[in-house]
């Protein structure tokens, strides 16, 4: 099989490439008298020596970073099946609109009259996201998914406080397959996080839910489809039960890519949902962020949303509204990560209503095809998921000693990033695989071929797998030591 070539050698750091006096541009001496920096800045704030910036000609700088990018794995290079992360291709038109001069130069203190285009874009986005959610109001402020969750849980608190239940409703429920951020968020907001077991099919155990529900429950956080990729087919009953107990339903929108345009969280009974624009709406993430985690709510929770709210005025202009006395406050500097909103707006506008739905359908179809190629080679403890499937290497490990981590490392030799490994926690030796809708049939087949070759290799030559990777510039890294003795700072020789 053709392998994706990595540049073989280890790239020196940019500091090591520096040579005194080299430069990309020559700036002539100024012929205007200007005060020295000493006259402009108090001595206490001046550094004693100039910073040791690398001195390198422009082409060498470009080559340096191009080489580094070739060693990296990214969606512009090949399929990136990181389950639950929705590593879809990020269309370049998103970057073009985000770099529009008017948006790039816009200052957050610009009077609203001078920022109508930006406000209209934000307003559009709230309307479109509300439509996908099947809910009435949206805040764009949260910086990413975890802050979206925080918003959701703070909304629960504000809601119960407004009804006089704030003191007694102290519990937030979540299933054992949940992302760790769900219980962490509930705990950070001062709630007790209560874990519920999943049933044999990997879904919420309704009986366990009934037992956990009482008037101390503030709400439940539930991803749908859940972290095993399974649609919570009892979702209407789950929402009814939680509502009857006086709680609110929060949907973690991590897996919305499987549902958008097809089924609306609001219709299922959810009260709150967050979006990961950096997953579902194709804005860059995984080192290329920042993220954006808007939150949609039904109208009974709208008064508590963070300020300012983006509104359309009676005269058709757009504005920011601060006078919301029941709001729980402010969540993010200014209005959220605006550049990400421009990219998401562009993506949604390019797709349109049909395209949004088609995206969800193709993400499920792609995963169904990939799963059909792999399911005879890897176990699938909970069966095929919607947009992602969680495979397990348990049997391979028992037979051959090859672990999921070894398979993940071996995939690098084939030019692929690994799936999410060892998560969710209720699947041992998990390989959580999400191909996304942006892969062609051939791309899915190439990935499946690599996975199957590795499964065969585990039987015939296990050592080849347990010692992987072989073809990368560096071999197996000591991840334990990297975590224990993290050191990312370059030390100049003269500092030794």
């Amino acid at each position: 099989m053709a392998r994706f070539p990595y540049t073989a050698e280890v790239t020196p750091t940019i500091f090591e490439k520096s040579s005194a006096g080299r430069t990309g541009t020559v700036v002539p001496e100024g012929d205007v008298d200007t005060p020295g920096v000493e006259e402009l800045i108090p001595a206490a704030h001046l550094r004693a020596s100039p910073p040791r910036l690398p001195e390198i000609p422009e082409n060498e700088v470009v080559r340096h970073y191009t080489q580094l990018s070739l060693k990296n794995h990214h969606v512009d290079r090949a399929l990136y099946p990181l389950g639950s992360c929705t590593m879809k291709y990020n269309p370049k038109v998103n970057e073009a609109t985000a770099r529009t001069a008017g948006f790039v130069g816009l200052h957050p203190f610009m009077p609203q009259a001078g920022a109508q285009g930006a406000l209209e874009l934000m307003y559009d986005l709230t309307v479109w996201l509300a439509e996908i959610a099947g809910m009435e109001a949206v805040t764009l402020q949260p910086a990413a998914g975890a802050q979206g969750e925080m918003t959701g849980v703070l909304l629960m608190r504000s809601y119960h406080e407004s009804r006089g239940d704030g003191e007694t409703r102290t519990k937030v429920l979540f299933p054992d397959s949940a992302h760790g951020t769900n219980p962490a968020t509930a705990a950070m907001a001062g709630f007790d996080a209560v874990e519920l077991p999943s049933d044999a099919a990997g879904r919420v155990d309704i009986e366990a839910l009934r037992e956990a529900l009482d008037d101390g429950v503030a709400g439940m956080m539930l991803t749908n489809p859940n972290t095993l990729g399974k649609f919570e087919s009892d979702i209407i009953e789950i929402c009814d039960l939680v509502h009857e107990a006086g709680g609110l339903m929060y949907m973690d929108g991590a897996n919305l890519n499987a549902l958008m345009g097809v089924a609306r969280p609001g219709d299922m009974g959810y009260d709150i949902v967050h979006f990961n624009l950096h997953k579902t709406m194709s804005t860059p993430h995984g080192g290329g962020g920042p993220g954006s985690g808007p939150v949609a709510v039904k109208s009974h929770l709208a008064p508590f949303l963070p300020v300012p709210r983006v509104v359309r005025n009676d005269d058709g202009s757009f504005g920011l509204e601060w006078d919301r006395p029941e709001s729980f406050g402010k969540l993010h500097g200014f209005y959220g990560n605006f550049g990400v909103m421009v990219r998401a707006w562009t993506y949604m506008r390019m797709l349109g209503r049909q395209g949004i739905r088609g995206t969800a359908e193709a993400s499920v179809l792609n995963n169904a095809y990939l799963t059909s190629l792999l399911e005879t080679h890897y176990e699938l403890p909970f069966g095929r998921g919607m947009h992602e499937s969680v495979f397990s290497a348990s049997e391979i490990k028992k037979r051959t000693g090859v672990k999921t981590m070894d398979i993940a490392k071996r995939l690098l030799d084939f030019g692929f990033h690994a799936p999410t490994v060892y998560f969710p926690l209720n699947v041992p030796e998990a390989l959580m695989t999400e191909p996304t809708e942006t892969e062609t049939k051939e791309s899915l087949e190439r990935y499946a071929e690599a996975c199957i070759a590795i499964a065969n290799e585990a039987e015939s030559d296990p050592e080849r797998v347990t010692t992987a990777p072989h073809d990368t510039p560096l071999r197996r890294l000591d991840e334990g030591r990297a975590a224990r003795e993290l050191d990312l700072r370059w030390t100049f020789e003269s500092e030794d």
Binding site: M405, V421, F423, L425, G480, R481, A483
Partner: protein
């Protein structure tokens, strides 16, 4: 296969309990199987001497490259010492789980609880299941 020494007691959550020379005092750590499943341990969060725990209360956490897991107290009692060496070198849990990788020394308030723990044979069966 992971090592499961006879003479120790075990929990289903993969802690072991070792008797000491002092009456009612026990050393607690995680098993060889547990460290193998976790992979490289990068941090162990332990309680302070004097803290008390009920049986199967969470007494600390263990962080590996793969995941963070809770540590459960096999017995009801008071922590009389912790393994300070793990602060400097958490990898001792990987290299010598039953020796230098011990975690806490606990004074049991109800030593009869030890009878409720798994024997080496029971634990081997539990791990194999």
């Amino acid at each position: 296969m992971s090592e499961i020494p006879d003479g120790l007691k075990y929990t289903e959550e993969h802690e072991y309990v070792r008797e000491t020379d002092s009456e009612n005092e026990f050393l607690v750590g995680v098993t060889d199987y547990a460290q193998g499943e976790l992979g490289d341990v990068v941090f162990v969060e332990l309680p302070a001497a004097g803290d008390t725990f009920g049986r199967m209360d969470v007494f600390g956490t263990i962080e590996a490259v793969k995941a963070v897991s809770d540590l459960f107290s096999p017995l009801t009692g008071e922590i009389v010492a912790i393994n300070e060496a793990l602060g400097e070198d958490p990898a001792l849990v990987n290299s010598d789980p039953y020796g230098e990788g011990w975690m806490v020394r606990i004074r049991a308030t109800d030593p009869s609880e030890i009878d409720g723990l798994l024997s080496a044979a029971d634990y081997a069966e539990h791990v194999d299941a």
